[in-house]
């Protein structure tokens, strides 16, 4: 093939290819650059004690603005994770109007979510009613035989709209080497599983004790969670206590 023929062929093929690629416009839509953040609170204004990520609850996000009310367009929900302290933040959201609902947690399910317009930066707090308030009676300490011991009490909360109160099911003593302690992050060998509790033990002081600790001269983080027998079986927690193991 002569050089000039080659050029012609290439030009011809390139122009064919150009036709073929005509539909491939550059995607010039803005990336998701909006931010949403906020807190999940109980009715008294305290932050909900939960687990990091989606293991103890998450926030369901239904986008409602782009379909313009056209019900023939299905909107698939997306979910936001939360932080262990009951706050949440996500900086990669498309600006739009969303219905946000805290779901799958140890609190009475919300019938309706909150409609939130997410512009450049949105802040939104939720109020949920936890099934239980769990609090220390005697904060954890290291016993003489090198176990962790603590006592706690739980109180059952009524539903905000008179909902059926789920039965209390079990509690867990959770011990971890780091501050993200919870049912999803704990030493399994130090505690033999969940302990059954009943509604009758409400407001009664319950003492929990671990097996002998394995590592010494270090810190551990401790908290106790109590769970109810609802669909999700997630935990309401005490505060996290940092302990030094001598």
């Amino acid at each position: 093939m002569k050089n000039s023929d080659m050029k012609k062929t290439i030009i011809l093929l390139l122009s064919i290819a150009a036709f073929g690629f005509y539909s491939c416009e550059i995607d010039n839509y803005e990336g998701p650059d909006a931010t949403i953040s906020g807190r999940i609170l109980d009715p008294d204004g305290n932050l909900l004690r939960t687990e990091p990520g989606s293991s103890n609850m998450r926030i369901r996000m239904d986008e409602i603005s782009w379909a313009n009310g056209d019900t023939s367009i299905a909107v698939i929900p997306r979910y936001l994770n939360v932080k262990i302290d009951g706050t949440y933040v996500n900086t990669k959201i498309f600006p739009a109007t969303y219905v946000l609902t805290p779901v799958e947690g140890a609190f009475y399910p919300l019938e309706y979510g909150d409609t939130v317009v997410v512009g450049a930066k949105a802040v939104h707090d939720f109020v949920v009613t936890p099934y239980l308030d769990v609090n220390w009676v005697e904060e954890p300490y290291v016993t003489a035989d090198s176990c962790v011991e603590a006592s706690f009490r739980f109180v059952r909360n009524g539903g905000p709209n008179g909902e059926f109160m789920p039965d209390v099911q079990d509690y867990r003593l959770c011990i971890s080497s780091n501050q993200y302690v919870g049912n999803n992050n704990k030493y399994d060998d130090l505690v033999s599983g969940a302990v059954t509790v009943t509604n009758a033990q409400e407001a009664v002081t319950i003492t929990a004790k671990s097996k002998r600790l394995k590592y010494f001269g270090t810190d551990v983080y401790v908290r106790i969670g109590v769970c109810c027998n609802d669909n999700y079986k997630k935990y309401n927690y005490t505060t996290i206590v940092k302990l030094h193991v001598p």
């Binding site: 093929l13 064919i16 367009i73 599983g193 669909n231």
Partner: protein, 689 residues
């Protein structure tokens, strides 16, 4: 450059096609004239049978292409979730959500096409009426694969056509769960009434339809009775759940359908007696057994599976292998084992918490129920010409400090305290004394360094098929110390156990399941205000069915119908059978029987879903294992080169897969696939999604 030229050629060829003389009907599209002939119908129906969503060997987590069906790599499948099975490809929980949808509606459309076309050929095609009934069976079978996943689904009852190019003309909303079951049951009633009684392998007849009906009517009954907490309605349509008052009606239908199957001459396979081989041969001889009701056959070159390749013990397969690790929790459901009546768990220690010494590798299972032996390849069993050799380690016969011998562990007078608590929660690895007295290896059988006894006997520390402490020498390791046998073809040799070559049939419905369906329906009726139905005493009938199953299995028989009582069920770790949850003792016995009889057959996963016990039974559940240890002292080698000697057994949480498993209640009904929600705006999503 070459690519550009190819591109140009393809483009040029594309242009050439635009010539009028080639404008003829495409050969690849079948027309009525092709299908509605004697041979055409047979070919078309064979194709349909090939596409029905049968949970056979080729079920997997592959949700991309076929919704979880028709994929050879069956490593991840439902029995990992129920306490039946665990292996290196899936150490945690597995939920079988594969988005089956499109393929189902394609099969349903084919059935609807036939139901519209075939009536014109009654009297012309010899079997037209039978084909119609068969198409309705296949339609119901396919709908069931959808309904058991999603609850109520859109019921496409006739072949649809696009009107004015508007996709909205095809949109159908979901019917209620109740209507969906009733629609399937109606199809099956028609099939039972009009189908041929002739038994042909791989093809349905009226008894197959009846047997299948007993299965799905029990599903509907159980959902009505136990699924109330998970009922969910949208716009007045109960998409999840069935009104509780329908329960007895469905159980009556299930019972009656199961009785119809008896008219077909099906029976339990008993040619080899109540022996281990007798039970194993139910599956090995599936193609000729009177027990097989509905089977799928395979053929090299068209449709095969790789079950033998993937699930044989690793040493008995060319590669892969070893995935058939069975949990100890399942084994403890069987008779003839030294179970602790207080816990229902295997007890291999004495009152002083020291190991009991067993005189041989076979002694522990010597008196086990034949059905268990037929379901497992136990230590000492010879399979494919090789003898199973399972160990976690060898107890040394001399312990030295420096060069001084300080102990000589002797099985007869050297008691060993239990290494690790077996309490369902202790997950620690072995340590302390264990490390000094046990010779172990983490290497595969091909490369273990033998332990040499003081008398010069060379012992593979972990046996040729043993557990390796779960330290990840490959996915085919023995994770539980117990390997499965059901379905494995004993006629293959290790070197012919290769990938994509297995052709042993799958049994989708067998007579034992029908008996268990019947027993369950009967007891549900007996306990809920219907002591007598169809002139039969329901409790006595359930008792009779269970004992027929047990007699063939070689299990202990129930003493009287009163055993199927409404007393409280045994709870986990509080007695024998406590692993399987149920509302009362009678139903617990029936459910345990299903666990024992139907394990590894894709039945248990769906049972736990329809009984709605999944989230309580598989809750913080950690799979358990059995670790055998051989005393080096006194060990000799047998003709297979495997050691004979005294053993102790450690029961504990699986070393290699110790995670706590949980089943989320959202999975009682799966999410309608997002793509379908976008396609059909009338579809409503299930609860919790």
């Amino acid at each position: 450059m070459k690519r550009i030229i190819y591109f140009a050629i393809v483009w040029a060829v594309g242009m050439v096609a635009c010539v009028d003389s080639l404008d003829i009907p495409p050969k690849s599209i079948l027309t009525k004239d092709d299908i509605y002939t004697e041979a055409g119908m047979r070919a078309y129906m064979a194709g349909l049978y090939n596409r029905i969503p049968m949970e056979d060997f080729n079920v997997s987590d592959d949700g991309q292409s076929k919704g979880g069906y028709y994929y050879w790599g069956n490593m991840k499948w439902p029995m990992l979730a129920t306490g039946e099975n665990v292996h290196g490809n899936n150490l945690g929980m597995y939920i079988h959500t594969t988005g089956y949808w499109n393929d189902g509606y394609q099969v349903i459309r084919s059935c609807n096409d036939l139901l519209a076309g075939l009536p014109d050929y009654i009297g012309i095609l010899s079997e037209a009426e039978n084909w119609i009934a068969e198409a309705r069976f296949i339609r119901a079978y396919t709908y069931f694969a959808l309904v058991k996943r999603y609850g109520g689904v859109p019921l496409v009852k006739e072949s649809q056509a696009l009107v004015d190019g508007d996709p909205a003309s095809l949109h159908i909303a979901r019917s209620s769960c109740e209507d969906s079951y009733d629609f399937m049951l109606e199809d099956l009633d028609y099939a039972i009434a009009y189908m041929s009684p002739l038994k042909v392998n791989g093809r349905a007849n009226r008894y197959v339809a009846a047997a299948f009906k007993s299965r799905i009517a029990n599903f509907a009954g159980a959902i009505a009775r136990y699924g109330g907490n998970f009922s969910y309605s949208v716009d007045g349509v109960m998409l999840q759940g069935i009104p509780a008052e329908r329960a007895n009606d469905y159980f009556r239908q299930a019972y009656a359908a199961a009785k119809v199957v008896d008219e077909g001459g099906y029976a339990l396979y008993r040619e080899d007696g109540a022996t281990d081989n007798g039970f194993a041969n139910v599956f090995v001889k599936a193609a000729d057994s009177p027990e097989s009701i509905f089977i799928r056959q395979y053929q090299l070159g068209s449709y095969v599976h790789s079950f033998d390749h993937i699930y044989s013990p690793a040493r008995m397969s060319v590669s892969y292998g070893g995935r058939y690790c069975v949990t100890l929790d399942w084994v403890e459901l069987f008779d003839g084992l030294p179970l602790d009546p207080a816990t229902g768990w295997l007890k291999t220690t004495n009152a002083a918490n020291q190991y009991i010494v067993y005189p041989s590798p076979y002694a522990l299972f010597a008196h086990a129920e034949p059905r268990l032996k037929g379901s497992l390849i136990l230590p000492g069993d010879v399979f494919k010409g090789l003898q199973m050799d399972v160990r976690r380690g060898v107890i040394r016969d001399s312990l030295k400090q420096g060069s001084t011998v300080v102990y000589t562990p002797d099985p007869d007078n050297w008691p060993i305290a239990k290494f690790i608590a077996d309490d369902g929660s202790t997950t620690s690895g072995y340590s302390g004394t264990f490390k000094s007295i046990v010779a172990e290896s983490t290497d595969k059988y091909t490369m273990q360094t033998p332990y040499v006894t003081t008398t010069g006997v060379k012992l593979n520390p972990n046996g040729l098929d043993g557990t390796l402490g779960g330290r990840g020498n490959g996915s085919g390791d023995n994770y539980t110390g117990l390997m499965g046998r059901k379905w494995l073809n004993p006629n293959l040799t290790p070197s012919t156990t290769t990938i994509h070559t297995s052709t042993a049939p799958w049994i989708d419905i067998r007579y034992a399941e029908v008996l268990l369906n019947r027993a369950e329906a009967a007891l549900e009726l007996a306990q809920n205000g219907v002591p007598v139905y169809d002139d039969a005493d329901m409790q006595a009938d359930a008792f009779d069915c269970i004992n027929r199953i047990r007699a063939r299995a070689g299990a202990a028989l129930l003493a009287s119908p009163a055993d199927l009582s409404t007393d409280a069920a045994t709870l986990r770790k509080q007695g024998i059978g406590g692993f399987v949850m149920a509302p009362n003792r009678g139903l617990q016995l029936i459910r345990i029987e299903r666990y024992k009889e139907l394990a590894f057959e894709h039945k248990i996963y769906w049972d736990l879903r329809r009984w709605f016990t999944f989230d309580t039974q598989i809750k913080d559940y950690r799979r358990r294992m059995l670790n055998p240890f051989l005393f080096a002292k006194g060990a000799t080698l047998n003709e297979y080169g495997n050691p004979e000697g005294k053993y102790i057994y450690d029961t504990r949480i699986c070393e290699g897969s110790n995670a706590a498993l949980n089943f989320g209640t959202k999975y009682y009904y799966e999410a309608i696939p997002a793509g379908q929600l976008k396609t059909n705006p009338l579809l409503k999503q299930n609860d919790q999604y």
